[in-house]
């Protein structure tokens, strides 16, 4: 069914819902690359007027990718919570925006299982950045493994101590630096340079040893392919969290070498290990706008909507952490600082609205038109939006993956200007070893308490 909107003498026609949603999306390079972006500013605005009139029930009734051809569509529809949806089923997209702006946190939690990714994406397209921030801020998604992540007024940090050759001493040095700057409550997560099971085992033992020896209330992860982590679990290696990159279509996931069944198998294997004393959220997913187009698996759907579908892939596995790696993919998908900032806020909003514990890797590559000032802006906005976690990379420079993310210092800045706390268990640990004061502020010095408490780290 075609959609129409009249602007003065011109009638804008949109062939179907996928076209309408693509044309209504704030313009970005990836949708242009796919040939589906609005061709004029007026067409973009007209599509938003038109999209605002579409009933949510119609979006639910018209899957963008047919049920028969895509297992992500099947997952979305088969697990849709009709009871939760009932509360919003009478609304149009435009009404839904106003509903969200006035809703209480409890209402947002209640409707989350009824919000499909297409509904979240549709409403985000007619929302300004401030709407995306103020609604996301009200949503609480709390997860637990060895600590509690996502409580109101908190921000967690993934300590990302990557090393170009996985050198254990170099990785340990970066972990020490991060801990001393008060980071690591979300996870200590290494992107390994090697994808061998043996290298994975060495890193898993390294992290497990550190966490046990110093009783750090956090979890470890080595971010390698799910099949490699499965092999590691079969060999009895200490796996806290199973990691996998996921995308919003069956074909894009195939491009990552994963299926829903494979994720289920890995989830069950990790649950069986029962390594989380506080909770059993044991999956960690990464996503990012543009991955489906990159894999030639986008079905003519805009990249922001497909990104929200990736959160639908993550949602049934009750993950501890999910983050969009918003500026990693490059300028062909998000061209500059403005596009990266908008995408980061959209992704965070859609994830939270769907009940997923969304963090953001606030980042850019050297071939994008972006710099540290753009990252400061997005970081600050996400802090205001109640983002679950950010990355902590030494000096913001990832020397293995070759991109710039946020630094340990950046998290200190955000805590200072917005008064954000760490996961409570981690905050108590830092205080207990004498690194922070009772309010969670770092004490002066060069981390001597931790260096003293853990001479092996600095040896």
């Amino acid at each position: 069914m075609a959609y129409r909107h009249v602007v003065g003498p011109r009638t804008h026609v949109f062939a179907d819902l996928a076209t309408l949603m693509a044309k209504a999306t704030p313009v970005r390079s990836g949708d242009r690359l796919a040939g589906i972006a609005a061709e004029s500013a007026e067409e973009n605005a007209a599509a938003r007027w038109c999209l605002a009139e579409v009933p949510l029930s119609e979006i639910l009734a018209r899957p963008l990718i047919p049920y028969e051809v895509d297992d992500v569509t099947r997952l979305i529809l088969d697990t849709h919570d009709a009871a939760a949806f009932k509360e919003i089923s009478h609304l149009t997209v435009g009404d839904f925006r106003e509903f969200l702006l006035t809703a209480t946190p409890d209402v947002l939690t209640r409707i989350a299982p009824g919000v499909t990714p297409e509904i979240a994406a549709a409403v985000s397209k007619i929302m300004r950045n401030q709407d995306l921030i103020s609604v996301a801020r009200k949503v609480r998604v709390v997860t637990r493994f060895r600590n509690t992540i996502g409580l109101a007024g908190t921000l967690a940090v993934r300590l990302q101590p990557n090393h170009p050759t996985d050198d254990p001493k170099g990785i340990t040095a970066a972990i020490l630096d991060g801990l001393i700057l008060g980071c690591g409550d979300a996870v200590i997560g290494i992107n390994p340079a090697s994808d061998s099971v043996q290298a994975l085992g060495d890193l898993l033992h390294l992290l497990d040893g550190l966490i046990r020896k110093h009783a750090i209330p956090t979890q470890a992860c080595v971010l390698t392919h799910v099949t490699t982590t499965l092999a590691a679990m079969e060999r009895g290696l200490p796996v806290d969290l199973v990691f996998q990159s996921v995308a919003g279509t069956e074909k894009a996931n195939a491009g990552f070498g994963v299926t829903l069944a494979l994720l289920k198998e890995a989830h069950e294997a990790a649950l069986a290990l029962k390594r989380g004393p506080l909770g059993d959220n044991c999956m960690y997913f990464e996503t990012g706008q543009g991955s489906a187009l990159s894999a030639d698996a986008h079905h003519g759907i805009d990249q922001q909507t497909l990104e929200a579908r990736a959160y639908a892939v993550a949602r049934p596995f009750r993950p501890l952490l999910v983050n969009t790696v918003v500026g990693f993919i490059g300028p062909e998908y998000l061209y500059d600082g403005k596009e990266i900032i908008r995408a980061g806020l959209e992704d965070h909003f859609c994830g939270k609205l769907m009940g997923v514990p969304l963090g953001v890797d606030v980042c850019y590559t050297n071939h994008a038109e972006a710099d540290q000032d753009d990252m400061d802006t997005l970081l600050t906005l996400l802090g205001a939006a109640g983002c679950t976690y950010i990355m902590g990379v030494p000096g913001a420079d990832d020397v293995m993956l070759n991109y710039q993310s946020t630094s340990f210092h950046d998290s200190l800045y955000l805590r200072e200007v917005l008064g954000l706390k760490r996961a409570p268990e981690f905050e108590a640990w830092l205080y207990g070893i004498g690194l922070t004061d009772a309010a969670g502020a770092l004490l002066p010095g060069s981390g001597a308490p931790l260096l003293t408490a853990a001479p092996d780290l600095a040896a």
């Binding site: 170009p164 170099g170 600095a458």
Partner: protein, 261 residues
């Protein structure tokens, strides 16, 4: 215990990561803000520098390889950055050139500028030099080395197919990091043809003097190719366990004279 400053100096020597930077309040000291800005400027410049295909062809020919220069459909850097699809497609005029040179081979080697011509300029010839004796020992038949400009990884699928190779290894400039504007990646794909997905490739990354050395990278490539040809597959189902082979002393003689640089 010793002075924390001494400890930090020692720790900083263990990793190229920016650790022990100190702080001014919650922020970085001025020197670190300025150092980051300069490094970013240099990485930006590396992205936009063009490849010197002639010099590269000369260095590779000196190793005893025939070379064929090709280009993708992306006419310039600005287009290349916005249109990865064009960087994956071969300039039609070059296809005939490849087909004319095609003879059944075990491996096609493609040297591609990717996002850092500097990485290719500095690392491709040393890597090929280390790999050549390993390939000879394995009695592999190598196709001419293709030097591709404005190229993405998947361009290797078209090239490998045109050259009738059983596998293709694309040596490509990785996107420059602040501390590594010179990092080379190697992507191995069995039975190359248009439409292969990234899950069907094995990757060896960070090949450079200060990262994975040329000799070790060559050994890994030899190991992966041997496995891929034996098993008839590449990608996520082919696990890289070459480290074990390296440690158990199965390393090639080429490694005995490797440098640690």
């Amino acid at each position: 215990m010793s002075d924390p400053r001494e400890i930090w100096a020692r720790l900083a020597g263990l990793t190229p990561a920016r650790i022990g930077l100190g702080r001014a309040g919650s922020g970085l000291p001025t020197r670190e803000v300025l150092r980051f800005g300069l490094d970013h400027a240099q990485a930006r410049d590396a992205v936009h520098a063009p490849i010197d295909a002639e010099a590269l062809a000369g260095a590779i020919a000196d190793l005893g390889f025939a070379t064929i220069p090709v280009a993708s459909k992306a006419p310039d850097r600005a287009t290349y950055l916005r249109r990865p699809d064009l960087g994956r497609r071969l300039n039609p005029e070059d296809l005939a050139k490849l087909q004319a040179a095609a003879e059944p081979a075990d491996l096609a080697l493609v040297v591609a500028d990717g996002l850092s011509a500097r990485a290719v300029q500095e690392n491709a010839a040393p890597l090929l030099k280390a790999f050549k004796p390993l390939a000879e020992k394995a009695s592999w038949c190598l196709a001419p080395v293709v030097i591709a400009s404005q190229a993405r990884v998947a361009l290797g699928d078209t090239i490998g197919e045109a050259l009738k190779a059983r596998a293709v290894a694309v040596l490509i400039g990785e996107r420059p990091g602040l501390s590594s504007p010179d990092s080379l990646g190697i992507y191995l794909t069995l039975n190359p043809k248009i439409g292969r997905s990234d899950a069907e490739r094995n990757c060896i990354s960070n090949v450079r003097a200060a990262g994975l050395t040329h000799d070790k990278a060559a050994f890994k490539l030899r190991w992966l190719l041997a496995r891929a040809l034996t098993l008839g597959l590449s990608g996520v189902t082919l696990k890289d366990e070459s480290d074990r082979a390296l440690e158990s002393g199965a390393a090639s003689p080429a490694l005995s004279d490797s440098t640690t640089g």
